[in-house]
């Protein structure tokens, strides 16, 4: 059994390093079937993602590898989270993060880079995807009791949408409970401040560090 468990955990790790979503999903199902602690299984993958994230930060790995590793982990995460819920277990994390690209914008790369590195750092991510409306962000923050909202807008035409999201949080009465980070090619510190965001960083590794600072974790 110990050897079987080791093989399954090794495969979860291997799936991240080899960008193999199918292997990750298959190994997660096996982990559940064999009664392996889903939190332990998640931690193995988080550690692997952390290594990938560090290599990305140093320029040793590149965007396709970072995204591939993140995608592999996504193959296993819903299966393991369902098992945690079934067992009433909760994974310790640095905080709950809601992430997405704002309405009118379908650029996902920057957002994916940041969420991957936040996952690697130990945050729990609820990724709303692309083209997300202000009300959807606001509803997700409330639903998941988020500690942090990270939103991305690549274009100058959509970066103003970030302000609408903050207005929606204000309207919902959740703004004071959640830290807000903005990002995107055209965003600057001045812009972030002008719309009332809590922070901005031009790099994905910097954004992960900023998240820790904002939440003091």
């Amino acid at each position: 059994m110990a050897e079987e468990k080791k093989d399954i955990l090794d495969n979860l790790k291997k799936a991240v390093f080899e960008y193999d979503r199918q292997l990750a999903a298959r190994s997660a199902v096996e982990a559940v079937e064999k009664g392996i602690d889903p939190i332990e299984a998640m931690n193995v993958m988080t550690a692997a993602i952390r290594e990938i994230g560090q290599a990305f930060g140093k320029g040793e790995l590149w965007l396709p590898e970072l995204v591939g590793a993140s995608d592999a982990m996504q193959g296993a995460t819903p299966i393991l989270e369902e098992e945690m819920e079934r067992k009433g277990r909760h994974r310790e994390s640095l905080g709950m993060v809601v992430a997405g690209t704002v309405f009118g914008d379908i650029h996902s790369i920057g957002k994916t880079m940041v969420t991957t590195l936040l996952t690697a750092a130990g945050f729990h991510i609820e990724d709303l995807g692309i083209n997300v409306k202000a009300e959807e962000f606001s509803a997700a923050v409330k639903k998941h009791d988020a500690d942090l909202l990270v939103m991305s807008a690549l274009m100058t035409t959509t970066m103003t949408e970030q302000e609408k999201v903050i207005e929606a949080l204000n309207k919902e009465g959740t703004r004071e409970k959640v830290k807000v980070m903005v990002g995107g090619a055209a965003v600057t510190d001045e812009f972030a401040e002008s719309i009332g965001a809590d922070g901005y960083d031009p790099t994905a590794p910097g954004a992960a560090e900023l998240a820790r600072r904002l939440l003091a974790v």
Binding site: W62, P64, E65, G68, P202, T203
Partner: protein
């Protein structure tokens, strides 16, 4: 296993029509037969006479029968193996492969004031270690990197330079000549178990001095390869026209080839153009000018028709005193033309102004340019895998996305070249990381290389022998009153 170099997979640039090539080649034969060349060497003139050339010993002139010229060109190898003391740095010169080579300078240059100054022995060593470490630099150069350093007397600069190259790099080198110093460099090659390429440089128009002839004679007899160079300056030592200069520059090299093939048939030769227009404003060569590119493209095409490897050397120096925009375009454009037109060796890395300054930071930045050019000539792979029709079908229109596919992970790096020191950051990240320019990053990379790169060392015995040869050179020159 030899260094890979860059293999061009498409037809080379042809700037001349077939008729134009033939016209120039006929002109070359006519000049060699009718005008003749001056060889300031009785030994060479006697050799030519023995092979039925028309020789005027008083004028030191030789006129070559076309049949002999064509026979000697045929005997010259179309490609050849060139052996280093480190097999990983062996080269195969010829075919569709392009290598990059360093370009020397008399001095180093201060990176803040761009003032030249004499390099120290340590700076010479560091410049060599950088060259040894660079991925896209395959070949060291004569006088690499500096013509002299510290207080080395001029007569010892080539032996000292050759010794430093052997000590601090296993990349192949060619070596200059003066005052019979090739005797020592040939001996160094023997003790270090490496080959060194000799040089034979014309003194245009249509002349070889005795030291060039003797250098070629010694290298050929030692079974070592040679590059034979024309250093014509258009409008000064050759006609102002590109076509006229092609006639004289090619003729000068062909004359040198006839000599080497008569000394030792089958001697490995590279035809080298170190040809510039004259800068009529200043009197120095017109570095980085379009005339260089026009000449080299045609020169490469002509030598391809002779089936003899070719080198482009006029690319290394610029008019700029610093590492800036002018410096880059004056180097990069002729280097690109050389690569597209089939140069086998492009002398490029490290040269800053004229042959006056060289710097390892320039070498590092040039290595990125060499990588871009090299990747370009390797062309486009069209296959089932690269066409990716199945993948295109699978991904479809939006929201399909290619980033997270095994195909992207497998291919994007192969398809691209990522420069090592270019500033590739978006604005915010650039500001956050200290607003570094490519020049700043190249300086950092130089420090990193010097801290981490260790060239393959000579054995103790080889080191002792190299020093013995240097000492012998010093003692011989002292006896001749040259020190």
């Amino acid at each position: 296993m030899s260094l890979k170099g860059f293999r061009r997979i498409f037809k080379p640039l042809e700037i001349l029509s077939d008729e134009q090539v033939e016209d120039i080649k006929r002109g070359v034969l006519a000049v060699l037969q009718n005008t003749g060349m001056r060889f300031e060497s009785e030994m060479a003139l006697k050799l030519f006479q023995k092979h039925e050339c028309m020789v005027d010993f008083d004028a030191m002139k030789v006129r070559f029968p076309p049949g002999l010229v064509e026979e000697c060109l045929r005997k010259t190898p179309s490609s050849f193996y060139f052996k280093s003391r480190n097999p990983a740095h062996d080269l195969i010169v010829g075919g569709n492969t392009t290598y990059f080579c360093a370009f020397p300078g008399m001095n180093t240059v201060e990176l803040d004031t761009w003032e030249p100054r004499r390099a120290t022995r340590q700076e010479n060593r560091e410049a060599l270690i950088v060259l040894d470490a660079l991925d896209n630099l395959h070949f060291l150069t004569p006088y690499t990197p500096y013509f002299g350093f510290d207080d080395i007397p001029p007569v010892l600069s080539i032996p000292e330079s050759a010794a430093a190259k052997i000590r601090y790099s296993t990349k192949l080198q060619f070596s200059g000549y003066q005052k019979d110093c090739e005797v020592y460099t040939i001996e160094m090659a023997r003790v270090a178990d490496t080959e060194i390429q000799g040089m034979m440089e014309s003194s245009p128009p249509l002349t070889y001095y005795g030291d060039a002839v003797m250098s070629a004679y010694r290298f050929a007899n030692a079974g070592l390869p040679l590059h034979i160079t024309s250093g014509a300056v258009m409008g000064g030592t050759s006609p102002a026209t590109v076509a006229g200069t092609l006639v004289t520059s090619v003729a000068e090299i062909v004359g040198g080839i006839v000599f080497t093939q008569l000394v030792k048939p089958g001697t490995r030769v590279v035809a080298n153009a170190f040809v510039f227009p004259q800068n009529m404003m200043t009197g120095v060569p017109f570095f980085g000018s379009v005339g260089i590119s026009l000449h080299e493209a045609a020169f490469n095409q002509i030598w391809r028709s002779y089936n003899i490897p070719v080198q482009s050397s006029a690319i290394g120096p610029t008019n700029s005193k610093g590492i800036d925009y002018q410096n880059c375009y004056e180097k990069a454009i002729p280097a690109l033309v050389a690569a597209l037109s089939g140069a086998h060796i492009i002398q490029f890395h490290g040269g800053v102004y004229g042959e006056i300054t060289h710097h390892p930071v320039q070498s590092i930045m040039d290595d990125d340019v060499a990588g871009v050019i090299g990747r370009l000539i390797e062309g486009i792979d069209v296959s089932d895998q690269t066409l990716a029709l199945d993948l295109i079908n699978e991904i479809g229109p939006i929201p399909g996305f290619y980033l997270n596919t095994a195909h992207t992970r497998a291919w994007w790096k192969k398809e691209q070249f990522v420069p090592k020191v270019a500033d590739l950051l978006p604005y915010g990240q650039w500001q956050k990381e200290g607003k570094k320019t490519a020049l700043d990053r190249a300086k950092e990379r130089m420090n990193e290389i010097l801290q981490t790169h260790r060239p393959v060392a000579l054995s103790d015995e080889q080191e002792k022998e190299i020093q013995r040869i240097i000492d012998k050179a010093q003692s011989d020159y002292a006896k001749k009153g040259l020190l």
